[in-house]
Amino acid sequence: MCLSIPSKVVKVSEDKTMCTVDTMGVQRDANLMMMGEDDVQVGDYVLLHIGFIMNKIDEDEALASIETYREILELMDEEERKRAISDDDNCENR
């Protein structure tokens, strides 16, 4: 019910009440009446819900999250590498 679809704005109507969004290759129209007049521009990422744009997706915040995940994975890889070396060093069957 409350699920929404991340999409990218490809066109805004002249009266700024509607826009066209791309959702992974599928284009559809969406209502802009819940947003401020100049809030949404072509190229913005937005959340689409039952035909309406609910809000913009903050690119910087999205990128910051993705960067956090990359760092976590890197740290885990490093820990696993160290553990593998340490296991190998301590292996009694060597």
Partner: protein, 381 residues
């Protein structure tokens, strides 16, 4: 990565390795917990994610989920489904609602069954389709049966805004919008008859994603402040949910009770102010709304403001709408499930008499309900 691509918004937040990484972090942190914690995911969207991606299997025994009441179809009492059915059966009415309502059974049957009997019921993708339907059918009344939490309320408000501005004479509204913080408060405050004490089962809340996009995280401030319950507003993707759970566990081991936002890419403290203004213009609180499975919850429902009463289908059709309350089946334990007192498999009729195709209780009615999710994805807990 310097620029964002649309696929990043899907792939990076569903990445299996990242989910596993958070599982490790949570397992490590959970060793420092003084006692097991129960996290209520308030929203059915989260329940769906948690079950679909098998997140309980990735978490230590000391981190449990309680599946909350955030499923607008599930919590609709039968008498209101009956309203929709009765309205649909009027020869001058076209009943319009969202697809989620199709199969929900009332005491006379579902809207799908009403349609089979000749009623004009239309399931639409967007409420705005009502305008086109109304203009194409000037001799009919179009009744929009509006459901949903804060997420969908402003869309109904936009439709009414346009009906008023365009002077469309033949659209009416049957409002069933409800609000989240009031039911969260009810779940903590309510005295539980089974244990004869206040409900202390819920230790923290995973805050809803898209309710919060509209209403802002500010609506949950009271829970850490007044009840000592942490709230982390989290996105619906599995990585979002795991990060949100990790943030809750960290609050417990650090002795913090705070309101935090994991889903910062769309949720702010203030939310979408334009949407909130639209809601305030057209809606006001009702003192009591009856939730299926939970009973009357104070201040949790909305209705049209009195100056818009001529658009209110409950007033226009008051002579034909049934008023008697209809209780759920005696064997149904949805109320206990929603309060965290029981899990779906503990119900004697779960998966036998009560299935998604023939739901008896509220939690089985919609795919977002806890029982439905358990049935669909197996008894994973």
């Amino acid at each position: 990565m310097k620029t964002l691509e649309l696929k990043n918004l899907y792939d990076n937040f569903r990445d299996g390795k990242t989910i596993q990484a958070y599982a490790k972090i949570i397992a490590e942190d959970a060793k420092k917990l003084k006692k097991p914690i129960n996290i209520m995911e308030v929203c059915g969207g989260h329940t769906h994610t948690i079950m679909k991606f098998g997140l309980p299997q990735l978490l230590p025994d000391s981190v449990n989920f309680i599946h909350g009441p955030g499923c607008p179809v599930c919590i609709m009492p039968k008498e209101r489904i009956d309203h929709a059915y009765v309205l649909a059966m009027q020869s001058d009415v076209i009943l319009v609602t969202l697809g989620d309502m199709i199969k929900v059974p009332g005491s006379n049957g579902s809207l799908q069954q009403a349609r089979a009997k000749g009623a004009d019921v239309r399931f639409v993708y967007s409420p705005m389709e009502c305008i086109k339907i109304a203009k194409e059918n000037p001799d009919k009344k179009v009744v929009f049966f509006a459901i949903g939490f804060e997420t969908t309320t402003p869309m109904t408000a936009v439709l009414l805004d346009q009906v008023v501005k365009q002077k469309i004479p033949n659209i009416l509204f049957h409002i069933n919008h409800v609000t989240v913080p009031e039911v969260m408060k009810e779940l903590i405050d309510s005295r539980d008859i089974h244990v004869d004490s206040y409900n202390n089962k819920i230790d923290a809340f995973l805050g809803p994603s898209h309710v919060s996009v509209i209403a802002g995280s500010k609506i949950y401030e009271q829970f850490p402040r007044d009840y000592g319950r942490p709230v982390v507003v989290s996105g619906f993707e599995p990585v979002d949910a795991m990060q949100g759970i990790s943030m809750i566990v960290k609050q417990f081991i650090e002795g913090r009770y705070e309101l935090e936002i994991q889903y910062k890419r769309v949720v702010t403290y203030d939310g979408n102010i334009n949407a909130q203004n639209l809601i305030d213009t057209y809606f006001e609180k009702v003192s009591l709304f009856r939730w299926r499975g939970l009973g009357n919850v104070p201040d949790s429902g909305l209705r049209l403001r009195d100056e818009y009463r001529k658009y209110n289908a409950e007033i226009a059709y008051k002579d034909i709408l049934p008023i008697a309350e209809i209780e759920d089946h005696k064997l149904c334990i949805c109320g206990d499930i929603l309060r965290g007192m029981a899990k779906p498999p503990e119900c004697t009729i779960f998966g036998t008499a009560c299935k998604p195709t023939t739901p008896i209780g509220s939690c089985m009615v919609s795919s977002e309900g806890a029982c439905s999710a358990y049935y669909k994805y197996g008894n994973l807990l």
